[in-house]
């Protein structure tokens, strides 16, 4: 970049040099500021995780994973029902949201021109910004209040709604980021749009779509607000999704605001488990789902 200018008239040499010094200075300032901010962000994260680990590790033991909560005031017990409940609710939510989200993503990526598609995109964006408590309230109004009965299913529906925009946008992105020559190559062979989509385009985009799915799961794992008036929580083993069910983050919430030291410790341990799960999902997404073709 400097080559042509430094061959210029003699007069240009002196100001150039000071220019360069000034630019170097600001560049160094920029790099320093960026490094400082990254440092603050990273250390905040490390402090939080470190704190949760030191507080929570003490209450992590086998009964914590295998037992249901003891009655109020008694020490011991665990959150096994909450862990299983979380898994059930998230699994049902994923089953509900995946087909709808992926099909919508396919529609937007492959046929998505015009007002209808723009409308769906806009709605997905708005939806991803709606506070989860509002979505919980919606699920309560539609799926709890009419039946006068809390249920895990209504929580799953709230979760599914939270997952939808993430799945839709990542599926659309995954399909869009494929080179158009892949799609055209399939069509040029005489494949129907359906065959081209199912046999060529979707498999090629699958790792990225699954990534979006897992990120959506990570997003709702640990959501508490929508559960307060949907799944409601339970002290007992409950596997029927039409009944109120325990959920780990809800237990963390309940225990944290309780007056008992033992429950406080369990709340930290629960938070630690939640963070670990989300962490593991993210690690798995990064390591296991690297695109096989990405050379």
């Amino acid at each position: 970049m400097t080559g042509a200018a430094s061959l210029g008239p003699e007069g240009a040499v002196a100001p150039r040099r000071s220019n360069r010094a000034v630019r170097r200075f600001w560049s160094a300032v920029g790099v320093f500021a960026a490094a400082l901010c990254s440092g603050i962000a990273a250390s905040t994260l490390i402090v939080i995780i470190g704190y949760v680990i030191t507080q929570g590790i003490a209450a992590i033991n086998l009964p914590f994973f295998l037992e249901v909560p003891r009655p109020v005031g008694m020490t011991g017990g665990g959150v096994a029902n909450g862990i299983v409940g979380s898994a059930i609710m998230v699994a049902i939510a994923a089953l509900l949201a995946t087909p709808v989200g992926v099909l919508t993503g396919i529609y937007l990526a492959l046929f998505g021109r015009g007002a209808a598609a723009e409308g769906i995109r806009f709605l997905a964006d708005v939806l991803s910004g709606v506070p989860s408590i509002a979505i919980g309230l919606f699920a309560y109004t539609v799926f709890v209040a009419p039946f006068k009965h809390f249920s895990a299913l209504s929580a799953s529906i709230a979760f599914a709604i939270l997952m939808l925009p993430i799945i839709i946008r990542t599926a659309e992105e995954a399909l869009r980021s494929l080179p158009s020559t892949i799609r055209e190559g399939a069509l040029a062979l005489g494949m129907s749009l359906y065959s081209a989509t199912v046999k060529v385009i979707l498999p090629a985009a699958r790792p990225a779509i699954v990534t979006g799915l897992l990120l959506a799961v990570a997003r709702v794992t640990g959501e508490t607000a929508p559960l307060l008036f949907t799944a409601f929580g339970s002290q007992f083993w409950e596997l029927n999704p039409t009944n109120p069910m325990a959920e780990l983050s809800l237990q963390v919430f309940t225990y944290a605001i309780s007056p008992y030291d033992d429950w406080h410790r369990q709340a930290w341990a629960g938070a630690l488990v939640l963070i670990s799960v989300v962490f593991l999902i993210n690690v798995f997404t990064r390591v296991a789902l690297r695109t096989p073709t990405g050379r």
């Binding site: 021109r113 020559t181 069509l187 062979l189 005489g190 498999p203």
Partner: protein, 268 residues
């Protein structure tokens, strides 16, 4: 030209373009092209970058309209029937007219063995494993690729070199037994050795398929083609056919002044 015994004698298909005009949205890209492509021969499509060669080629298998805002008016007759007639399904057209792209596009999740028969399987509906395996070997041999890949048919197509990938794509296009083969600068991304292999392959196929090949390289067009079409876009950037004739004539005694200017390198 050497006749290859390993090739099935394809029917003599006639491909004719009449008053073809193509648009991207509202913008006209090529206008009023009339061209009869000689059967079982290679027609080279030459002209400066942006004159509409790719667009014209993509109108021949109706892939132009698959890319969103592409529109076409005029007619393309395949054996006397207009492929743009309202009752014609573009999917059926593309089974008879194969296409090879500028950049090799093996399917990312398929192995070499799956990729090469993907058209036969997912467009042609052939299910039998034995028939697919047989077809894979036949077309990979046609594309002079069999010996290089026969021991790694289950490797991904993307693991091959650029030239091998492009020969895989040619084999793939041949697997559905098309009558016409469209090639868009199929060697522009390849090194000279891979280019020579593809040219040799094109020449060996030319007695059996009607080939339309866009070329960015005039020496290549002169080497491989029997006929040459020269296109040019004027100041309004609308491509038109300037001259069409036997390659020999177009390169040695062009009828049009603009053709002469182009092949003697005065522009483009």
């Amino acid at each position: 030209m050497a006749v290859r015994a390993d090739l099935v004698e394809a029917p003599k298909t006639v491909l004719v373009m009449e008053e073809l005009t193509a648009y991207y949205g509202k913008r006209m890209a090529i206008e009023g092209v009339n061209l009869a492509f000689p059967s079982k021969a290679i027609t080279a499509l030459i002209g400066p970058s942006g004159c509409g060669k790719t667009t014209l080629l993509r109108c021949l298998n109706r892939i132009h309209e698959a890319a969103g805002n592409g529109r076409v008016s005029g007619r393309v007759l395949l054996d006397g029937r207009d492929i743009y007639a309202s009752e014609v399904n573009p999917v059926a057209v593309r089974r008879r007219i194969g296409m090879v792209f500028q950049r090799a596009n093996p399917f990312p999740t398929m192995s070499i063995g799956e990729d090469v028969v993907s058209g036969l399987r997912y467009a042609g509906g052939v299910r039998s494993k034995a028939r697919l395996r047989e077809a894979a070997e036949r077309v990979l041999r046609l594309a002079f690729l069999w010996d290089e890949v026969k021991d790694k048919l289950n490797h991904p197509g993307t693991s091959l070199s650029g030239g091998q990938q492009q020969r895989l794509c040619i084999a793939r296009a041949l697997a559905t037994d098309p009558e016409v083969l469209l090639m868009d600068e199929a060697t522009s991304a390849l090194d000279p050795i891979a280019t020579a292999q593809i040219e040799e392959l094109m020449i060996s196929l030319s007695g059996h398929y009607t080939i339309v090949a866009v070329s960015h390289n005039m020496q290549q067009a002169a080497r491989v083609s029997t006929h040459t079409a020269f296109m040019l876009a004027g100041a309004e950037r609308i491509g038109r056919l300037i001259e069409f004739g036997e390659t020999n004539q177009v390169f040695t005694r062009p009828r049009e002044r603009q053709t002469e200017d182009y092949i003697t390198g005065r522009f483009g």
